[in-house]
Structure formats: structure tokens, C-alpha cells
Amino acid sequence: MNNNNKRRTYFISGFFVLLLVLIILAWQTLGTAPFVRTSLSGLTLGSLFFMVAAGLTLIFGLMDVLNFAHGSMFMLGAYMGWQFYTNPTFIFGTAPLWLAFATGVFLLPILKPFLIRLELSESWQNALPRLAYALMVVFLLIGLLGVNIMEMADTAMVAITTTVVSNPLSEIGPQEPISSFWIRPLALFLAGAMTAVGASKPGNKKEYATDENRSRNLIILAFLIITTIILTIFREALPVAVLLMNGNLRFALAILTAVLFGFMFGMVIEITFIRPLYQRHMFSILMTLGLAFVIGEVVHILWSPLAYQMVRPPFFAQPGKAETVWEWFQNGNATLNVFGVTFPTYRLFIIVLGLLMFVSLIILMTKTRMGMIIRAGVQDPEMVEALGINVRQVFTLVFALGVAMAALGGIGAAPFIPVQPLMGDQFLMQGFITVVLGGMGSYIGAFVGAITLGMARAFGDYFALRLSLSPAIAEASTVIIMIIVLLVRPSGLFGKKE
């Protein structure tokens, strides 16, 4: 094992020396300005690759699940952020509905300890969940029939083509009046509650649940109920308030929305679709692949296959070049002078975002108990459980975290590449190559791999252009790097798993 460690160290240092030589060579042949410009482009791409790859590698490392839906989650993050930034009618219009449903489902840990203690005959034990699920469907129909989701989804699309810059509110259309709308969240709450009743298997003595955390659960439930009511009441006022906000603040909130959405979406997907399939890897791969198609089609239906360009927030949008960082911070210029090169400030922001994510990930993995559990779980989840840690919950959190990171990448990319249903595919592909290159399960490997691939793409593009070769060479370069590394070291740069 020590010998193996040594070889790994040699290999990694060799790889870095090679990179350094290549970088210096490129610098010498290109000259400073093109070199800086190309490197920064490479870092921007690498940063986005990393945001996709980090989640992929964490999820694979801990749970052995290859998440083919990760690109779709990247895309969903972009769509959610774009919606929030351009016209949040869709988000605020539907939020009370699904939040009400989630609140209902959250009754599960509170109801279950009581329900399983009920004395029920066997036939009732079988019938009650079915009855509950049937009622759930009825409530869902009551709650959702006639909701004009398409129209709400359209608002941001229309906003892009018709909104006058000075009046962001011109596209806020009227919605269903609260006097008739209130029944919908209520029906969805009841549908959620029925799901909770069905899922807790009343009367089943083999089930187990504690009410240890009852007070904590009740507080969360109260919080959810209050949030749902507030969102229901201010359903129409909130989009207006958001659109009247300062653009930079709105963008920050859009990022937060995308990340929060990614986290919740990841949790729901893990609990409902991935969790039952941990013992069957092939099935979980097929499941994520299927999810990717479904998500893509739903986005197709909601927002049509058209590509949208999200407007850059004002902090990155004023025309003109800033000479110093300070000047940029004051004026919000679109470009900045970096070592004599004019470079878009928004791309610098993406680089900073990626670096911030990497640093937070390092802190999470090395300094917190959660990180310790993840590192231990990568090796032996069963033993982690035997220490008294709820590994299933950790799996859910890590999956949600991975999806949230992909969503962050999505909203980060949205003002920079067109928002369209296939935008995640390219990043999923590059994300997989990154993960394989860096070593399955290693987040440091994902970072090094992402930066390497981003650089390869940028320099490949540059040379292809200069030597008038096909740009396909740049795209192939990432795969070639992966093949070379895999030939020398099959487990990837930082890989420990085979």
C-alpha cells in the first residue's frame, strides 16, 4: 500500500510538472496578452466544469451512483435562476402549491409514531394506505386542475422579447384571485398529508419510529405552514417586489433560489427515485438516465426548445472598460483590464464563484463532522451506520448538495451561455470526463481535472483558430487527455477506488 501511495505521489507531481512546462511553453510561444486571455477563458470553463463535476464525484464516491441527470439539474438551475431574475411569476405562482404539498408530507415523522401504534386488523392495515393514496389523487386533482402553469411559465419568455427596459413590470399579468386560489394550497396540503398517512403504514407493528425529535419537527412544520400561507397571500405582490429590486440584489437572490431549488429537488429525487435502487447499480443508472429525459421534456413543454439569453446583472453590464478592480467595483463595468487584456468581468465572477465553491468544499470535507462522515462513508458506509450515524440521511444530504452545486453552476452560466433545454448535456459530458480524469470520488481531483480540461479546451480553440484547423480538435483534446491519463493510471489522478 505504501508503495502504491508513493507511485501516486510521483504520478501527481509528474502531472503538475508537465502542466507547468506546457503553461510556460504556451506563454513563450503566444506572448503575454493572448496567453492571459486564453488562460482566463480556460479558467472560466474549468470553473463551470468543476461545479458540475464536484457533485458528480461526491455522489459517485459515497453512493456509487452515476448521476446521468446531473446535466439536467445544471440546466434546471439555470432555468430557475433565469426565471427568478427575469420574471418570477412562475416561481411565486407555483411555490405555494408544492410547498403546501411538502408541508403535508412533512407530517410523516410526526404522525408515524402514533399511526403505527394503532391496533388495526390486517385487512385495515392493507386498506388504509390504499385509501389514503386514493384520497391523495383526488386532492391533487382538486388542487391542480385549472392552474394555468403554461401561462405563468410564459411570462419570463415574453418578458425577454417585449419588456421595455425602463419598465420591468410591463409583463406582470393578472393571476387567479386569492378568493378562489386559497383552496388549491389547502387541497395540496391535504394530498401531502394523505401521502404521509399512506407512507407511515398505520398499524404495522414491524415499522419503527421514534418521537424523539417531535418538538424540532413541530417547529419545522409550523415554519413550513407559515411560509406557505405568506407565499399564498403575497403570491402576486412578490414578483412585483422582486422586479422593482436592485438588479444586483435580484441576481444574488436568483443564485440563492437556484441553489435552494437544486437542494430541495435533489432531496426529493434521492428519496423517491434513487434510494430504493442503491443495491441495484444498473437500475439506478437507468433511473437517472430516464430522469434526464423526463426533465428535458418537461422543460421543453414549459419553456419551448428556444434558447434565451439572460441579461447580465448591472454590476457586470455597464459599457466601458475598467482599468482597476476598484474602478469595476464602483462602476460595474462590463470589461476589466487584466495584464493588458480586456476581459469580461462576468467571466471573472464565474472563476471566483468556482474558487469559492472549491474552498467551501475543502472546509466542509476537512473541518466539519459532516465532511468526516462523507470521507468515512466513501470507504465503508455500513461501518459508519454501525457507529450510530444515520447514513441514509447523509446520502440524501450529499445528493442534495451535489445537485445544488450543479444548479449553482447552471445559474452561474446562464448570463454567459444561452439558456436552453440541452445546455446541460455538454457540461455533463465534460463533467464525466473531469471525474474520470481526476479520479472517481475525489473532489480535489475534480478541481484539478476541471481546470486542466478547461485550459485544454481554451488553448485547443486558440491553436485551432490560429493554425486554421477544425475546432473539433479542441473538443477532442479533453478526451485525448483523459485517455492518456487513464492509460498511465487507470484510477485517475487522485483516484483511490478502482
Binding site: M1, R369, V378, A386, L387
Partner: protein, 250 residues
């Protein structure tokens, strides 16, 4: 010798049957562990001793039968819930976390904040080596040090019962001696259920024995009675163990 009374039992495994995938591994295992004693499960490789421990922990939940720990039925509960009732587990093959440092391995075993501060002195008193190695990653430890860490990890929270799987496996004789002394010291404050292939070690440590054979518990009683019963030992544990009993190896 301690008297066995029903009320004194910390763990009752009552006729459990466990399947791993389609294989019927445990066909009928019953074990009773008296409080503040050392009970050892003996038997050939593949007899189902490790599976019995894992069934108690809920890692391979039994399909039939009851498990009562400290007066509470625990079969069917999730493993982390069972463990949190006060069971420490030392797995076979010293499954410590190799990517984590010794300190992190111990810290991870905490159930409530400050467990390690409370039990640290006791642990480092038992295994002084670990204090010196505290910052080293797990994969830099020798086999013996890894085994000590695996035992130490189970001592971080306060446990009513320790399940220890093959503590002597692959250890040098001097380390086996040290491990035996450590387990002896532990039994002063807690109860130990041991799986052990090394019959010398088992016979010197344990108060009670169970013999598991082919997924069934076939014999049990006081250890001091088993040592006298050469035929029984030979039948289930092989000739080497039989020699120990007849005095050949001691």
C-alpha cells in the same frame, strides 16, 4: 462464579433466522448475554458468528425471531437506532477509516458532543500507543495499531454492550496478550460479547460460551465446563482447540 438470572440478561437473541440475499445463513440462533460478563461465540469459519453480531446490530436484520436489548425489542429497527441505545461494535478485519486520522476516527464515534473528552483518558490509558499516533492517517498504522483503534473507537461513547469480532485476528502473540488484558479491563465496566477463533484467548477471557455451527446455536454454558469437555471442543472447534483443552498447547 456469577449466577445467571433472567433479569440479569442485557441481551437476549431468541431464535433468529437471517437471510443474506437468498442464502439462509442463520437458521436458529439463540444467545443470552448476562450483564457485566464476557460471553464468547465459538465455531468454525462460516458458521454464522459474524452474521449473528450483524443481525443484533441490524446490519443484516433477521427475518424471524426476537432480539431484546436491555429490556427492549430491537429487531427491525435501523442499525443506527440500535447502536445509539448503547452498543459498541468492533468489526472484523479492523474496519477503521483509512482516510481519516486516528483522532478523526475517534471523533466520528462520538454520539454526543464531548464523548471523547470524557472517555479519552480511559482509552489512552488502555492503549498508550494511540496517543502518540493521534494525528496519523489510518492507513499509516500497523495491523496491531489498527486493531487497537478499532477497539478504542467502540469505547468513545458510553456503551452497555460491546460486540467484538475476532480481536486477535492476524495479531502477533504479544499484541494478543495486550488485547486480552484490555478486554479484561473493559469487562469491569461493561458487558462483552466476543467472537473469537483463538481458543486459548477465548478460554482465558470468557465466563460463558456459545457454540454456533451451521447457522444454529448448538451448545452453551460456563466456560470452565467447556474446558473440561474435550470431545465437544474437538467436535465443533477442531483438533487444535481440542489439544488446548487436553493441555497439549498450554
Amino acid at each position: 462464579m456469577k449466577q445467571t438470572q433472567k433479569t440479569d440478561l442485557i441481551l437476549i437473541v431468541d431464535h433468529i433466522q437471517t437471510y443474506i440475499e437468498q442464502f439462509h445463513i442463520l437458521q436458529n440462533v439463540s444467545v443470552e448475554v448476562p450483564r457485566n460478563s464476557i460471553t464468547v461465540m465459538l465455531g468454525r469459519n462460516g458458521a454464522g458468528k459474524t452474521t449473528t453480531l450483524k443481525s443484533i446490530l441490524g446490519l443484516t436484520p433477521p427475518r424471524e425471531g426476537k432480539i431484546i436489548f436491555d429490556g427492549m425489542e430491537i429487531q427491525g429497527k435501523r442499525a443506527f437506532n440500535i447502536v445509539n441505545l448503547g452498543i459498541g461494535f468492533v468489526p472484523e478485519h479492523r474496519a477503521i477509516f483509512r482516510q481519516l486520522s486516528v483522532f478523526e476516527n475517534l471523533k466520528l464515534a462520538e454520539r454526543t458532543k464531548g464523548d471523547l473528552d470524557r472517555s479519552g483518558d480511559f482509552i489512552f490509558d488502555l492503549f498508550p500507543d494511540l496517543k502518540r499516533l493521534i494525528k496519523l492517517p489510518g492507513n499509516h498504522l500497523s495491523g496491531g495499531q489498527q486493531q487497537m483503534l478499532a477497539v478504542a473507537r467502540a469505547l468513545v461513547p458510553e456503551n452497555k454492550l460491546l460486540l467484538i469480532d475476532e480481536p486477535s485476528e492476524g495479531l502477533a502473540p504479544i499484541l494478543i496478550q495486550q488485547m486480552m488484558e484490555a478486554i479484561q479491563k473493559l469487562s469491569a465496566t461493561t458487558t462483552v460479547l466476543l467472537v473469537e477463533q483463538n481458543f486459548i484467548m477465548a478460554s482465558q477471557l470468557a465466563d460463558y460460551y456459545y457454540i454456533i455451527d451451521d447457522g444454529k446455536s448448538v451448545h452453551n454454558g460456563l466456560m470452565k465446563d467447556l474446558i473440561k469437555n474435550e470431545d465437544l471442543v474437538k467436535e465443533y472447534l477442531g483438533a487444535t482447540a481440542g489439544k488446548v483443552v487436553s493441555g497439549g498447547l498450554q
